[in-house]
Symmetry: C2
Subunit: 109 residues, 2 copies
DNA sequence: AAACAGTACCTTGTATTACAAGACATGTAT
DNA sequence: ATACATGTCTTGTAATACAAGGTACTGTTT
């Protein structure tokens, strides 16, 4: 039990939420997402992201299309589906509630 | 992939943080913790809590003593250790950082 | 005393998921 | 050709919340 593992555990589940938000803003491919997450100090590696994207796609929360790159291999550009948008709304509520609960517990004297 | 599971995943890792906070405030036993978490709308069941308390104890972040109850079986009253207090401080920072990162991502237009 | 109910602690098995450490395939530059 | 960068994906491992039980102690009712 160490801080590093706990950080991973805390981040768990939040990634799905953040990824959906990023995709909801417009078409992006994996490296775009990693860049944005990294900029926000939310570290994620490829081995985490790709399976997560596949889960989202299998759940019909996102869709993708192949786009040829001008230099390099083709990319999968993801967009959010209607179902994904609805799901994201419930996640927003879940997150607000969770922050609220945690605030309540951790700020008590 | 459903909201209920995602809520569980989001809560994952936060429990350890919240439990440590509750114990840090004074001696409590399991039912006290469940009551406080439930009041704060952070659901947790016994099958989750007991293994978590054991992990914390094995990591020397908390300690406990048996206390006879006036009615019913004896209780394990937990307190936080010095090491636990230090650990909790790093978790506070981790949480702040995580909230900040999430805020950054989810509020972007 | 025997049976029951309430309280408190704990365990086993399952599902989920982040990560490490790779593999593979495409395009560009040397 | 060879090397490098880019992009997608897979396998195996570890961690942990939960469901669904079990065990043990105490007091109450029959």
């Amino acid at each position: 039990m160490n801080a590093s593992n706990t950080q991973i555990q805390m981040r768990k589940g939040l990634l799905e939420f953040c990824i959906l938000h990023i995709i909801a803003r417009g078409e992006v491919y994996a490296s775009d997402m990693i860049e944005e997450l990294t900029d926000a100090k939310m570290i994620v590696v490829e081995g985490t992201l790709y399976p997560l994207l596949n889960r989202l796609k299998n759940a019909a929360l996102v869709s993708y299309k192949w786009v040829e790159s001008e230099s390099g291999p083709p990319r999968k550009y993801y967009s959010i589906t209607e179902e994904g948008s609805r799901f994201l709304e419930t996640l927003n509520e879940t997150w607000d509630s969770l922050v609220n609960s945690t605030q309540l517990i951790t700020s008590k004297k």
